[in-house]
């Protein structure tokens, strides 16, 4: 019983962290209507930006996450402007193909600079907290707090600021938003910045738990897709619900499957949800 409870705790923590890049993926989908697979490379870029800030500049994990957000966000805007935006008129699927090519190109920029070695963050060693037969690492808790703060900030931004409302309007009905004078191009840039920034935070949070290498982002991509699709592609609350569900399901799968299959759980979840409820748990409404 404790084992299940422990796995549930781990799953909820993992799911909360997974929600961050999943929100990034789904938010970009909601506004730009194509699956931007570069979340994989931007998670890696964020992880490495945070790594540099942490090990070379000596930032603590919390501040390094801010660097991860900024660098991944800026890279997201620039690469979209240069590579993906000109291709969007040729169709969502052409842009999706280009995004896969772009993610491989960016991943290799990282590989060129840092090589394939596993790298760890410079973190203080701390003992796990225990209680009621459960254990949780202080780093896990810190990651959880960072993830929740990032998501809370995003919700406040989308709910209360003028720009946030404009983003939701474009996601909901681009034509109507255009008539109302909302600049769709600015909104596109903004959603790329925020979405890829969140992917960057996600990549770094995953790396804080283990280690990072150029494939950090690619390894988690299946879970990110699964979270977004299970919750309803294009729905931000859906991404959160989906990520929690995937996080818990992946951990519970450890009861009967080898750990390597954790990511395959996401794929099975996508197949099941698309068969039973193709719009996902919360449907496609953006917010």
């Amino acid at each position: 019983m404790t084992e299940v409870a422990q796995l549930l705790v781990n799953g909820l923590v993992a799911g909360t962290i997974l929600a961050v890049p999943a929100i990034g993926f789904t938010a970009i989908y909601a506004v730009l209507r194509f699956p931007n697979f570069t979340v994989a490379s931007h998670a890696t870029i964020g992880a490495f930006a945070g790594y540099v800030a942490n090990t070379a500049a000596g930032f603590p994990a919390g501040a390094a996450v801010g660097v991860a957000f900024l660098v991944a966000g800026v890279s997201g805007v620039i690469t979209d402007e240069v590579v993906l935006k000109p291709l969007r008129p040729s169709g969502a699927l052409t842009a999706a193909i280009a995004a896969v090519a772009l993610t491989i190109a960016l991943e290799n920029v990282i590989r060129f600079i840092w090589g394939n070695d596993l790298r760890g963050y410079d973190l203080p060693l701390r003992r796990d907290w225990q209680g009621a037969g459960l254990r949780i690492g202080p780093q896990q808790v810190e990651n959880l707090v960072i993830a929740v703060v990032a998501m809370g900030a995003l919700f406040l931004f989308l709910a209360f600021t003028r720009t946030g409302k404009a983003m939701r309007a474009v996601a909901d009905n681009p034509t109507l938003a255009g008539i109302k004078g909302i600049n769709a191009e600015m909104v596109a840039r903004l959603v790329n910045f925020v979405g890829m920034g969140l992917a960057g935070i996600g990549g770094m949070l995953l790396g804080l738990d283990t280690s990072i290498d150029p494939l950090t982002g690619f390894r988690v991509i299946l879970s990110v897709f699964a979270a977004a699709v299970v919750g309803g592609l294009g729905s931000i609350p859906g991404a959160v619900v989906g990520a929690l569900a995937i996080g818990v399901a992946e951990e519970l799968s450890l009861l009967s499957l080898a750990p390597a299959y954790r990511t395959a759980v996401g794929f099975v979840a996508i197949l099941l949800v698309l068969t039973v409820r193709p719009r996902g748990i919360l449907g496609e409404r953006a917010f």
Partner: protein
């Protein structure tokens, strides 16, 4: 090298059937390729099946996987198929790396039988295999060319351009899509199976997502929608791969991992450049037109 170009041509032809002709995406080409390779390798090596039976089984099972994915996403936007195929290729790699009792894990399967391997000199073996692969390319090419010029191919193109119009015209769109995807998956599986028998060794690391990019690049550079373009593109890509190996080999002061990174970067970047500046490829698609019998 020519054999590899032939295998890539098969993959590009398979992709052309779904992406070029039907407008469905498959971003997990390498997953189908790997799946076919493992099926045939396991059946011939562990179960002792003859190679043609292994090839056939590879085609059937890959087609089955394709049917499953096409059916699940049949009523949804193409984005879902993109996600699910990309996911599939990862799952194939995970399973291949971890079901050690079956696939030998990351050590891979070696000693996959090939036709007359060991009885003839390696050069003759390569020649035999080149003939087999060329024959496969010719047969698939001829079959897909036939599809392209048939009323069936016309329906596929109609679905690509506007599936609602095709549905209004009374065509069972979903059935067409699933069939096209299944046939394409079978071709990809065939290419994978041939690859295994040719190299006699397969391992999960041999099936990286980059291969999917090679093939999309081949088809886009050659001419999407065009079987001739698919074959031409495949040869171009193999030539390009070999020449980047040659070029990056001459870069001074770089570690091997950096050289590999430069090559992979160039491949990703060239696909982006082709998509942007030469979206119709070298051999642009020409919609076949036939004189209507009895007209005029």
């Amino acid at each position: 090298m020519a054999t590899f170009a032939g295998l890539y041509a098969l993959l590009a032809l398979g992709l052309n059937l779904v992406w070029g002709m039907t407008g469905m995406i498959n971003l997990g080409l390498v997953g189908f390729y790997a799946f076919g390779a493992y099926v045939s390798a396991l059946l011939t090596k562990k179960a002792g099946w003859p190679m043609p039976a292994g090839l056939l089984a590879a085609m059937l099972l890959t087609a089955g996987a394709g049917v499953l994915m096409a059916l699940v996403t049949a009523r949804l936007r193409g984005d879902y198929l993109a996600i699910i195929t990309l996911g599939f290729s990862e799952v194939v790699r995970i399973v291949a790396s971890n079901e050690i009792w079956l696939t030998n894990g990351s050590d891979g399967i070696s000693g996959i039988p090939g036709p007359w391997r060991g009885q003839v000199s390696p050069a003759t073996f390569n020649l035999i295999f080149l003939v087999i692969v060329s024959a496969a390319v010719l047969v698939v090419f001829a079959a897909l060319q036939r599809v392209r010029h048939s009323p069936y191919g016309r329906v596929l193109r109609a679905i690509r351009d506007d599936d609602q119009v095709a549905a209004v015209a009374g065509k069972p769109v979903i059935a067409f899509k699933v069939e096209a995807f299944a046939v394409s998956a079978a071709v990809l599986g065939l290419a994978g199976a041939l690859y295994g028998h040719y190299t006699s060794y397969i391992a999960p690391e041999g099936f990286v997502p980059l291969i999917s990019i090679y093939i999309v690049l081949a088809l886009t550079a050659g001419g999407t929608g065009n079987n001739v373009g698919a074959v031409v593109g495949a040869f171009l890509v193999v030539f390009f791969l070999e020449s980047t190996r040659f070029l990056t080999g001459g870069l001074p002061g770089l570690k091997p991992v950096q050289v590999a990174a430069v090559r992979e970067f160039l491949i990703g970047a060239s696909l982006i450049v082709v998509l942007r500046f030469r979206p119709y490829g070298l051999v642009p698609e020409r919609i076949p037109r036939h004189a209507t019998p009895g007209a005029g």
